[in-house]
């Protein structure tokens, strides 16, 4: 909560403890209009724990709201980015948006006020808004303005300006400042918390200080390897040549600023070395906490949102501070322990994965600074300043720093895939005999909690039903000593979003009872042989930085069809290792990376459930498109907007084609649509039904996801389905079909 309190000038970072007290004594009570004297902490100290708790509850409520707001902004940003990606023209002789030829022979041409590109009048929007003359904006810039309005960026001059103070330390229940509690809640310094992040991002990403884990934590929400939506956005702009024309000092500064700002900076480094001055519309909470002045971005138009070097310098500590404050609100990182040995290990206590080594000292300092939350900010900021070469941040230095930092961070992230960490090794192969797992016990496992669930493979319906019953004694993840747990399921290997299922989140409990059944449809015997179910328990957090608590994995081949099996296991933390030596497969654990490799060979496009029935009454074929599962993601947001096309070939004319509705942003769409082909039964045998699944895109051609052809010339399951349909009139026959990409179809 202090981030704005220590407002403005030179002594803002001073430790208030003694000096504040003395100053405070001199200030008249009541209206002490504070100058720069940080007399606040003392007033704060007067609050009782009860009051602090009440306040913390309000803050938690606000954070939840903010989280929703962040998601909303995220959607806006995604949409904007989608538009940017579908740009077709060059903005000079062709309309930037639709690519139509401009000029004498082509469409009428106008210049977008914001990006100065040429657009045709169809893609431009004329606005008058109380100006003497109207202006034109291209649809993208118009949308961009809309996003600025809707996100609040217009006011704060940057996305999102959430200025929530952090929860206050409550002496009785608040762990962060109690070293002893520290030790107990976070027993192993090797605790590989970085787990969730590492699986979705590369090591380079992992090098970023704290924030990247905000990605990692929320990986299932947005990043998932595909595209961490926001922070990467700038790079897209740059690629597109959107506004990166000049690496003006302002832009440069902006970039540097991002660098300092933990999250966005890291992302930018990793993805967009050449990024220009586009606004880094980062909606990261880390900066959300800072005061508006801190939130500036290099403007969409450099001159427009440009900010001064001062503000930037002053903001960078702010950013760091916030990063620290996040940590402050979580169980304390073990890094706080002074032992140097602990430092290389991931800072388990925070939601974050490991920062670069350099961070730990900062963090330590901040821990030692005690309850005054502003201090961590200060120390971290200061430390960073030193590294960055002081307040001036000459560009070169910033760059150097960047490069220097990446390698430094690498080993930690790299530690994930490469060598098994001690923690991992100590962990007995729990999944080997899941029955024994029930009694399995270890320090770490007990700290993480236990999970009760049951699995049932319903062979007839091709479904896998996972009932999440409850968890017990989950590791406290929030400052209130509780957690907001939910369970998510992945089928490994496979596209991560398409096969993710999750329960709802239960608030403020370490012993959640979900009693929720999640169902995977379209599970075949082959899947059961090949796939591994990963069940992970996570803590839903403000801003969507969900934090991984623990997981278990289960190789589905051990599940007997149509037999429900109950489990009560201790959660563990698994580090996905590329090569786990012999143990990996022996344990029946699908090691993530390996599986991914295997999975990619198969090139999964997804599956589709189709029903066929020849109706003698109506004299035609009824094709039902029931649902698709595990579709490949085609959009940047990690999803697709799928629809299905049907084509009865050959020689059927217009009537031969049908398509379903478009299902937005899903990889597991349920269509339940039926289509009728008026055709004689005798003719049907000569036809084949071409089924294709597409990703709908606005403003550009749709992406082909996959397809399959049913017919007498098809093979295997597809032939069988067709054949059964022909043979059994008036009988509806449902079958799952694996989607293949075009080549397969062509060759069929």
């Amino acid at each position: 909560m202090t981030d704005t309190v220590f407002g403005s000038s030179t002594d803002r970072w001073m430790c208030p403890n003694d000096r504040a007290m003395s100053l405070r004594a001199k200030v008249p009570a009541g209206w002490s209009v504070r100058g720069n004297q940080p007399e606040r902490p003392r007033t704060q100290e007067e609050l009782t724990d009860e009051e602090k708790e009440i306040i913390n509850r309000v803050i938690a409520r606000a954070e939840k709201m903010e989280e929703m707001e962040q998601e909303r902004i995220g959607r806006l940003m995604n949409r904007l980015e989608d538009m940017r990606r579908s740009v077709a023209g060059d903005g000079v002789s062709r309309c930037i948006l639709c690519g139509e030829q401009l000029g004498l022979l082509g469409s009428a041409c106008v210049v977008c006020e914001d990006c100065k590109k040429n657009v045709c009048t169809k893609c431009g929007i004329e606005t008058t808004n109380s100006r003497p003359h109207s202006i034109w904006l291209c649809k993208i810039c118009s949308e961009q303005r809309e996003v600025w309005k809707r996100s609040g960026a217009w006011f704060f001059k940057g996305l999102p300006k959430q200025v929530l103070p952090q929860p206050m330390p409550v002496s009785k229940s608040k762990p962060p400042q109690a070293p002893s509690e520290l030790a107990s809640s976070e027993p192993s310094a090797q605790d590989p918390k970085l787990y969730s992040r590492t699986q979705s991002r590369g090591p380079a990403d992992a090098g970023l200080p704290t924030e990247q884990d905000s990605y990692g934590g929320s990986e299932e929400k947005r990043a998932t390897g595909r595209k961490p939506v926001k922070a990467r956005e700038p790079s897209h702009d740059a690629e597109r040549g959107y506004s990166s024309e000049e690496e003006s000092p302002a832009a440069y500064r902006g970039r540097k600023g991002m660098r300092q700002r933990p999250e966005a900076g890291g992302e930018a480094v990793a993805t967009a070395p050449g990024r220009g001055s586009y606004p880094a519309l980062s909606r990261k909470p880390s900066e959300a906490r800072m005061g508006p002045s801190g939130g500036e971005y290099a403007g969409g138009e450099p001159d427009r949102w440009e900010y001064s070097a001062d503000s930037e310098v002053s903001r960078s500590p702010g950013g760091v501070k916030r990063a620290n404050s996040v940590q402050g609100s979580r169980p304390p990182p073990p890094a706080a322990s002074p032992s140097p040995a602990a430092q290389p290990a991931p800072p388990a206590g925070s939601r974050q994965g490991p920062g670069p080594g350099g961070r730990f000292p900062e963090r330590q300092v901040s821990q030692l600074m005690g309850p005054l939350q502003a201090e961590p900010g200060y120390s971290a900021g200061a430390a960073r300043d030193e590294r960055g070469g002081g307040g001036g941040y000459p560009g070169a230095v910033a760059r150097e720093e960047r490069t220097a930092r990446q390698p430094a961070a690498y080993p930690q992230a790299a530690a994930v895939p490469v060598p098994p960490t001690p923690a991992r090794q100590q962990q007995p192969p729990q999944d080997e005999e899941e029955d024994e797992a029930n009694s399995y016990d270890s320090d770490e496992a007990t700290t993480l909690g236990t999970l009760e669930f049951s699995l049932l493979y319903d062979q007839d319906n091709s479904s896998l039903q996972c009932t999440l019953i409850k968890a017990k004694g989950l590791k406290p993840m929030d400052s209130n000593g509780l957690a907001d747990p939910y369970v998510k399921l992945h089928l490994l290997p496979g596209a991560s979003k398409s096969n993710k299922l999750r329960t709802k989140t239960l608030r403020n409990t370490r012993n959640p009872v979900w009693n929720e059944t999640l169902v995977y449809h379209g599970i075949t015997d082959e899947d059961m042989q090949r796939k591994t179910l990963r069940i992970s328990v996570c803590d839903e957090d403000k801003f969507g930085h969900n934090e991984f608590i623990g997981e278990t994995r289960f190789s589905l081949k051990k599940l007997k069809p149509n037999q429900k099996k109950n489990f009560n296991i201790c959660l563990e933390r698994v580090i996905p290792m590329k090569r786990a030596g012999t143990t990996g497969s022996a344990r029946g654990m699908a090691l993530y990376e390996e599986e991914v490799e295997r999975g990619s060979e198969v090139d999964e496009r997804g599956k589709i459930l189709v029903s066929l029935m020849y109706s003698t009454q109506q004299g035609g074929l009824i094709v039902g498109i029931v649902r698709c599962v595990h579709l490949a993601a085609m959009d940047a947001n990690g999803y697709s907007d799928p629809f299905v096309k049907l084509w009865l070939k050959p020689d059927m004319g217009k009537k031969a084609k049908h398509k379903t509705q478009i299902k937005k942003k899903t990889l597991n769409p349920e269509f339940n649509e039926e289509f009728f082909y008026d055709i004689k039964h005798s003719d049907l045998a000569k036809k084949s039904l071409d089924i294709s699944v597409w990703d709908y895109d606005i403003g550009k051609s749709n992406d082909y996801i996959g397809g399959c052809q049913l017919g007498i010339t098809a093979k295997g399951e597809r032939l069988k389905h067709w054949y059964e349909c022909l043979k059994n009139k008036d009988q509806k026959i449902e079958r799952w079909h694996t989607l293949q990409n075009e080549n397969h179809i062509a060759s069929d």
């Binding site: 209009v33 606000a62 707001e69 100006r131 217009w154 001059k157 959430q162 103070p165 403007g299 440009e306």
Partner: protein, 207 residues
């Protein structure tokens, strides 16, 4: 899923302890009133979604404790506010005098672009009035801030007050985002011009 909205405006209520900030907010958000005085602990907020010019605006209104001992916490919220209500109690001269201090606090901690408004609350208690309406208006004019006398208890001008503040923010938003496309977006804000433009319904109280 939450209701959709177009804009999120963050407002803040400040003023001395006991002037009725919480009651104003309670009236506005729940259309209710409670006579018992419960001092706000630190901070609180309520949500109400309103519609202006066809846009759905979600108002997140922060209520602050007036007591000095919570000042640390409450000032931390100035920064995030797009609009701030300064509230005094017309039956309590001291609370009116302190408005100046609150304004200074805003200048120190809030965004320079923040929209402000002064409310003289408890105007239903005319018999106990210590601050005349003219005095309130005068102060408001001095600072170039809009002013309304309100009563949370009798539900006088409460809606108007919040809608006015929201509209002012909206006006500023539109001006910023539409008018200066190529010049700096963060130019100085002319509050006076702003004032005369939109809220004619309450101009009489101002001038």
């Amino acid at each position: 899923m939450a209701k959709t909205y177009d804009y999120l405006f963050k407002l803040l209520l400040i003023g001395d302890s006991g002037v009725g900030k919480t009651c104003l907010l309670f009236r506005f958000s729940e259309d209710a009133f409670n006579t018992t005085f419960i001092s706000t602990i630190g901070i609180d907020f309520k949500i109400r979604t309103i519609e202006l010019d066809g846009k759905k605006i979600k108002l997140q209104i922060w209520d602050t404790a007036g007591q000095e001992r919570f000042r640390t916490i409450t000032t931390a919220y100035y920064r995030g506010a797009m609009g701030i209500m300064l509230v005094y109690d017309i039956t309590n001269e001291k609370s009116f005098d302190n408005i100046k201090n609150w304004i200074r606090n805003i200048e120190e901690h809030a965004s320079s672009d923040v929209e402000r408004m002064i409310l003289g609350n408890k105007c239903d208690m005319n018999e106990k009035r210590q601050v005349s309406k003219e005095k309130g208006e005068k102060l408001a004019i001095d600072y170039g801030i809009k002013f309304l006398e309100t009563s949370a208890k009798s539900s006088i001008n409460v809606e108007e007050a919040f809608f006015t503040l929201a509209r002012d923010i909206m006006t500023k938003l539109n001006r910023k985002m539409n008018d200066n496309s190529s010049s700096g977006a963060g130019g100085p804000v002319k509050i006076t011009e702003n004032r005369s433009k939109k809220s004619s319904f309450f101009r009489c109280t101002l001038l």
